[in-house]
Every structure is written in structure tokens, then in C-alpha cells.
């Protein structure tokens, strides 16, 4: 067993060496050292097993066994037409596209972004002197590769990715879409660093998709967000990978004084997905919304682990995760809220609600509060339920057939999360995902 796992990790050693040799000349030496350190960490940690508390319900052995070959640049020849199903109209001219984790300038456009806003290929940014200080100070500083094997693996393969810098005071209207497409059967390691300057406002959509349904590949993403004083970031993560793919992602956000981070995570795809969200409220007055909606069926498995860390007084966190499960699907929700010593006047709310549409679907939900301050307002709760018979009867008594009634109630359940989304195209996409054929009947939303 031990040797087998060692071999599985070993599968990444040769590609790692090739990368180190290939970019040794143009990436700064600190990046090479960072990768080296991360790879050592990955070799030490190995893929997690279900014996570890944090991975108790999510078995990643299929990922380890598959030995996905790390993607290399220019393997794919996707064109703009093939991109159409995955783009959002609102980001027509504010879009960075990555194929297998590598930036594709031909498919990208940043015309709608105001002067001074930086949205660049990370590889290019790393070569520029003017970003050196920011990158060195921020890249891999938030997402800990010393503890999480997947973060370590991603960091070992840092090469391309998105570097987003919103300058102080900038008000960016156009949502910046970071579109990660997988084309093939490889391991992609998307990497994102977003630094929002003091008093800035911006919206970022981070989405994942497979070029073809049925492709088996592995996306291992790490996103780091750093918000300056008073900065506001609306962040959407939309995961609709191929249903044979694996998706593991970490989102790590650090919030300065009076900043606001509004994250909505939508999970529709992947055979197995795991999302680790960690938000630290590092200074007074910071506020975060960490919402999510997962809709899975068949034999899909999705796991969300969130940590909201109240480190300073007067911070507020809101968390609402809703899940809809059909077939034999399974969802895991583990939400930790820490209120550190001295973090008085903390207001932390956490809710996880699940709707089971079949008797074979299963949810393991565990909200956790750890409070080391005495003057706080904290609440959490979790529910797992099925559609209410009285609600179904009410709808059918008005002439809706049973299936339509079920769909409408399911839609209503999801709506609490969907209605908060401010990007029309994402909302429309979700309505469709929830309702399928019912969709055309429900365009009346704003009636």
C-alpha cells in the first residue's frame, strides 16, 4: 500500500523536473524555489486518505490512481466557436481564457476593463519587474501548501494562470471572467491571484468546464484573493466540469479593514469535486458572504469544506449553502467558523440546507462553531429534507402535474441562492440547470 502511494506521487516527479528545467531561465528564481518547496511538501504529504478527518467522506484514491499527466502548453486547438457555451455575455470584452490551465491570448479580450486594471497571464506577470514585489508578497502566501496536498501539487506546477490587480479606488463595472476549459485527459493546475486595492470595487467570475462532456480529466485549482482596506469583491465560482472529471479547488481570501468579499459558488459538474474555502477576516469591519449551491445527481460526489476565521472584532460573516441531490449522489458540507480570542462583536451566521430528490442520495453535513470570545452573535444550522407533501398537493391542486410541481418546488428551493446572483447570464444558466424543460415557462421572473 505504502509503495503504491509513493509510486502515485512519483508519477508527478518527472513532469515537475521538466517544468523546472524548462522555465528555469525566464521565471524568477524565487518561483523555482517556491515550486521546489511545494513539491517537497506534496511528496511528504501524499494524497490524503479517508483516515484523515478532513477527508473522511471524500475518497480521492481514484484521482491518485489515475496518474493524470500534467498538461503542457499548446496541446489544444480550441477555437472561439467551441467556447460559446461557456462564455457570459456580460464579459464579452473582459475575459481571460485558459485551456488546460494555460492562458490563451487568442480567446481572451480585456478591452472593457478600465485603464490601470491588470488582468494578465501569471507567467507574463512573473516576468515583469513592476509586479515582482506584489507577486512575491502575495503568491502562495495565503493558500498553505504545507498542509494541503492538492494545494502543494498546484503550487509545484505554478506556471500560467490569472493575475488580477485592481488599483486603489478603481470601480470596475464589467465582470472579469476567468474561464478555465479542459480539453483532453490531463491534470490542469489553474492558479489565480487577485489583489484588490484600497476602496476598489470589482466582480470576478471564475468558471470551469470541459470542452467535451464525458472527458475524464483533473482540475486542481488554487485561487488567492487579497482585499485592501474598504475593497469590495463580488466573486462567482461556477463549476460545470464534465461529469467524468475530477475537480479540486481551494479559494483563500484575506480581508483587510472594512473590506467585503461576496463569494457565490455554483457546483453542477464533475464526478468528484472538492472545494476548500478559507476566508480570514483580518481587520475590523470586514464582512463576507460565502454562499453556495450544489446540484448533483447520478453518482456525483461533491464536498465543500469552509473555514471562516474571525480574527479581529466587529467582523460579520454570512454563509448559506444549499444542495439539491438526485440519484445516488452524495454531498459533504463541513463549515467551520472560528471566533478568535478578542474578536468581540463578531456576527457569524451559517446555514446549510439540503433537498434530497431521491431516497438513495446522501448528505453529510457538519456545521462547526469554535468561539473564543464572549461578546458575539453566532448561529448555525443544517437541514436535510425532501419535498413537502403538502406543498406538492397545493401545486398539483392548481393543475400542475406532479413532475412540474416537483421541479417548481426544487427551483424555489434553489432560488434563495440564485436570486442573489447579479449576473443575468449566470442566473439564466442556473434556472436552466434546475428546471430544464420548465425553463421557457419561467422567463417571467420579473413579471
Amino acid at each position: 500500500m505504502v509503495t503504491e502511494i509513493a509510486k502515485e506521487q512519483g508519477a508527478y516527479a518527472a513532469p515537475f523536473r521538466r517544468l523546472q528545467e524548462k522555465t528555469g531561465t525566464d521565471a524568477p528564481s524565487w518561483v523555482a524555489r517556491l515550486r521546489e518547496s511545494a513539491f517537497n511538501s506534496f511528496e511528504r504529504l501524499g494524497f490524503p486518505s479517508v483516515r484523515q478527518e478532513e477527508w473522511k467522506y471524500t475518497n480521492v484514491a481514484p484521482i491518485a490512481k489515475a496518474n493524470f499527466e500534467p498538461a503542457v502548453e499548446n496541446e489544444s486547438a480550441l477555437d472561439a466557436a467551441q467556447l460559446q457555451p461557456f462564455v457570459y455575455e456580460e464579459s464579452r470584452a473582459s475575459r481571460l481564457v485558459f485551456v488546460n490551465g494555460f492562458y490563451s491570448p487568442e480567446l481572451s479580450s480585456t478591452e472593457a476593463l478600465p485603464e490601470g486594471v491588470v488582468a494578465l497571464d501569471l507567467a507574463a506577470a512573473l516576468r515583469e519587474e513592476k509586479y515582482a514585489e506584489t507577486l512575491r508578497g502575495q503568491l502562495a502566501r495565503g493558500a498553505d501548501f504545507g498542509e494541503n496536498a492538492f494545494t502543494a501539487l498546484n503550487t509545484s506546477f505554478i506556471e500560467s494562470g490569472a493575475f488580477v490587480l485592481v488599483p486603489e479606488g478603481a470601480q470596475v463595472e464589467a465582470p472579469l471572467h476567468l474561464l478555465f476549459i479542459s480539453d483532453g485527459q490531463s491534470l490542469s493546475s489553474p492558479r489565480v491571484l487577485i489583489v484588490a486595492g484600497r476602496g476598489s470595487t470589482a466582480t470576478v467570475i471564475e468558471s470551469y468546464a470541459g470542452a467535451r462532456e464525458g472527458d475524464a480529466y483533473f482540475t486542481n485549482a488554487v485561487v488567492e484573493v487579497s482585499l485592501g482596506e474598504g475593497a469590495r469583491l463580488n466573486h462567482y465560482k461556477v463549476q460545470r466540469e464534465s461529469t467524468d472529471a475530477f475537480h479540486v479547488a481551494t479559494t483563500r481570501a484575506a480581508l483587510a479593514r472594512s473590506s467585503a468579499f461576496n463569494l457565490t459558488t455554483i457546483t453542477l459538474g464533475a464526478r468528484l469535486s472538492r472545494h476548500d474555502v478559507q476566508v480570514t477576516l483580518d481587520a475590523e469591519g470586514a464582512e463576507c458572504w460565502v454562499d453556495g449551491l450544489y446540484i448533483v445527481g447520478g453518482t456525483q460526489h461533491t464536498d465543500t469544506h469552509s473555514v471562516i476565521d474571525h480574527r479581529r472584532p466587529h467582523c460579520t460573516s454570512h454563509q448559506l449553502y444549499k444542495g439539491i441531490l438526485d440519484g445516488k449522489s452524495r454531498a459533504v458540507f463541513n463549515g467551520k467558523v472560528f471566533v478568535r480570542e478578542g474578536a468581540q462583536q463578531t456576527d457569524a451566521q451559517q446555514t446549510n440546507r439540503n433537498l434530497l430528490l431521491s431516497n438513495e442520495a446522501r448528505v453529510d453535513t457538519k456545521p462547526q462553531l469554535e468561539i473564543f470570545a464572549d461578546d458575539v452573535k453566532c448561529a448555525h444550522g443544517a437541514t436535510v429534507g425532501q419535498l413537502e407533501a403538502e406543498e406538492l398537493f397545493y401545486l398539483t391542486s392548481r393543475g400542475l402535474n406532479a413532475e412540474l410541481a416537483r421541479n417548481l418546488l426544487t427551483y424555489g428551493f434553489a432560488e434563495e441562492v440564485i436570486e442573489k446572483i447579479k449576473i443575468d447570464s449566470i442566473r439564466a444558466q442556473l434556472d436552466e440547470a434546475v428546471l430544464n424543460r420548465l425553463h421557457s415557462n419561467l422567463e417571467t421572473k420579473n413579471l
Binding site: A389, E390, E391, F393, Y394, L395, T396, S397, R398, G399, L400, N401, A402, L404, A405, L408, L409, Y411, G412, F413, A414, E415, E416, E419, N441, L442, E443, T444, K445, N446, L447
Partner: protein, 261 residues
């Protein structure tokens, strides 16, 4: 329009209806009165097809068809409507969405063209005026956060949109203040015509001052024990239900009746 013959029904194994006979013609308004637990609401729910109620004996013919064979949604599309005593809240679904879906399901069933959102908006505005509901109710989730009176008005709005042939109003007057009662009753009266029939299930005579019935049936212990014209309701108002209950107890068992609501 409706023929109920020797209808028996149970819920959770308790027999609540013990042989109801009732005949209703188009254009008529029938009041079903009776004390708590007499089976009034059970009768309403059985007619709408509530799955918790089991018909153990008897038949119900609706326009010559066996109503009991139809699923609740089929009954609705055929023109049967139940105004709920306790309308259900449907979070996340707007009143307008819900009403248009229901309306279009019925149109499809009748082989008519569905209405698009704009066409429906006009229709909804016109129907909402019948129960004096303003546009703000249309974008709100169905019954969510509505007051008791608003929920009842919303039921009558649904009736106004769906234009049923047979409307069963289950204690629509309960929990209404006098102004709301007047609005609700006024709405029902506007919808009343020579083609449709209305069953008013009520505990109190009060509603019948506003919606004047052609017939009054008094239910006790799962049976109709008295029948008459609108003056019977006044008699009940004056004398209460005790004498009716005593009469029912004298003529048969009332076991299980306390389970009904």
C-alpha cells in the same frame, strides 16, 4: 355537475365521512356547515384529491366522470378548485410565475394557446382587481410573508385566474377581519355565474351574509344531518351546533370525528 353518493372516507385509518350524499347543479351555491370535527374540511380535501384521504366507499361524479379516478392536477385542469383553509407558502416561486404556469397548464389542457408573460400580465392585473390586490403581490413568493387575510385573498385570486367550474372554498372566512371578509366575498360574488357552482365550507353564518347560498347542508359526525335554504344558517347562528351534535350522536357513532378538521 356534481353527484356525491354515499361517500365514505378515512384518514390515518379513522373514518371521517360516513355516507355523504349531495347533488349540485351549475349556477348553485351550496353552504356546508357544521361543528368542528364534523368532516367539512375532509369533504373539501377529498373532492380536491388530497392523497392523505382515502375513499373507502361511494362515488363522486363530476360532469358525468368519475372524479375519484382523477389525480389532483387532472381535477384542477377539469375545473375543480379548492381554496385552502391554510394556504401553503412556496418560497422562491413568485405568485406571477406560479399563476401563469397553472393558467397555461389549463389552457394547454383545453387545447388553447399559452399566454406569454406580457399577455398574462394584463390578465393578471385585471383579475387581481377583483380581490383588490396590487402589483406588489405578484412578484412576491407565493403566500410567503402574507398575512392571513392576504393569503385568503390570494386563494380567491387563483380562483379568478383559473375560473373553475366547481369551486370549493374551505373556511375562506376564517381569520378574516370584516374588511377582508367583504373583499373576499365580493370577489367570489363577482366570479359567480350561471355556469359555475360554489361549495362554501364554513363554521359561521357570517360569510353567508355576503355570499348568499341557495342551499345549506349541515354536517355532523360525517353525515349530512339537516338540509334547507339560507334560513337554516340563521337558525344555526341562533341555536348553535349543540342540538345538531346531539342529534348526530343519537343517530350513530361519532368515533374518530375529532380527528377531522
Amino acid at each position: 355537475m356534481l353527484e356525491i353518493k354515499d361517500l365514505h372516507a378515512t384518514v390515518d385509518g379513522n373514518e371521517i365521512l360516513k355516507g355523504i350524499n349531495l347533488s349540485i347543479k351549475p349556477g348553485e351555491v351550496h353552504a356546508i356547515m357544521g361543528p368542528n370535527g364534523s368532516g367539512k374540511s375532509t369533504l373539501a380535501k377529498v373532492l380536491a384529491g388530497h392523497p392523505a384521504y382515502e375513499v373507502t366507499k361511494g362515488e363522486v361524479l363530476y360532469e358525468g366522470k368519475n372524479l375519484l379516478e382523477l389525480a389532483p392536477d387532472e381535477r384542477a385542469r377539469e375545473g375543480v378548485f379548492l381554496a385552502f383553509q391554510y394556504p401553503i407558502e412556496i418560497p422562491g416561486v413568485s405568485n406571477a410565475q406560479f399563476l401563469r404556469l397553472a393558467y397555461n397548464e389549463k389552457r394547454k389542457h383545453l387545447g388553447e394557446e399559452e399566454l406569454d408573460p406580457l399577455e398574462f400580465k394584463d390578465l393578471l392585473k385585471e383579475r387581481a382587481a377583483i380581490v383588490e390586490m396590487d402589483a406588489s403581490f405578484m412578484t412576491r413568493a407565493v403566500n410567503e410573508g402574507f398575512s392571513g387575510g392576504e393569503k385568503k385573498r390570494n386563494e380567491i385570486l387563483q380562483m379568478a385566474v383559473l375560473e373553475p367550474k366547481l369551486a370549493v372554498l374551505d373556511e375562506t372566512d376564517s381569520g378574516l377581519d370584516i374588511d377582508a371578509l367583504r373583499i373576499v366575498a365580493g370577489g367570489v360574488n363577482k366570479l359567480r355565474n350561471s355556469e359555475n357552482a360554489i361549495i362554501l365550507v364554513t363554521h359561521y353564518q357570517r360569510l353567508l351574509n355576503y355570499i348568499v347560498p341557495d342551499y345549506v347542508h349541515v354536517l355532523a359526525g360525517g353525515r349530512i344531518v339537516r338540509e334547507g335554504g339560507k334560513e337554516l344558517a340563521l337558525e344555526l347562528e341562533e341555536k348553535g351546533y349543540d342540538w345538531i351534535k346531539a342529534q348526530a350522536a343519537g343517530s350513530g357513532s361519532t368515533a374518530g370525528a375529532s380527528q377531522a378538521s
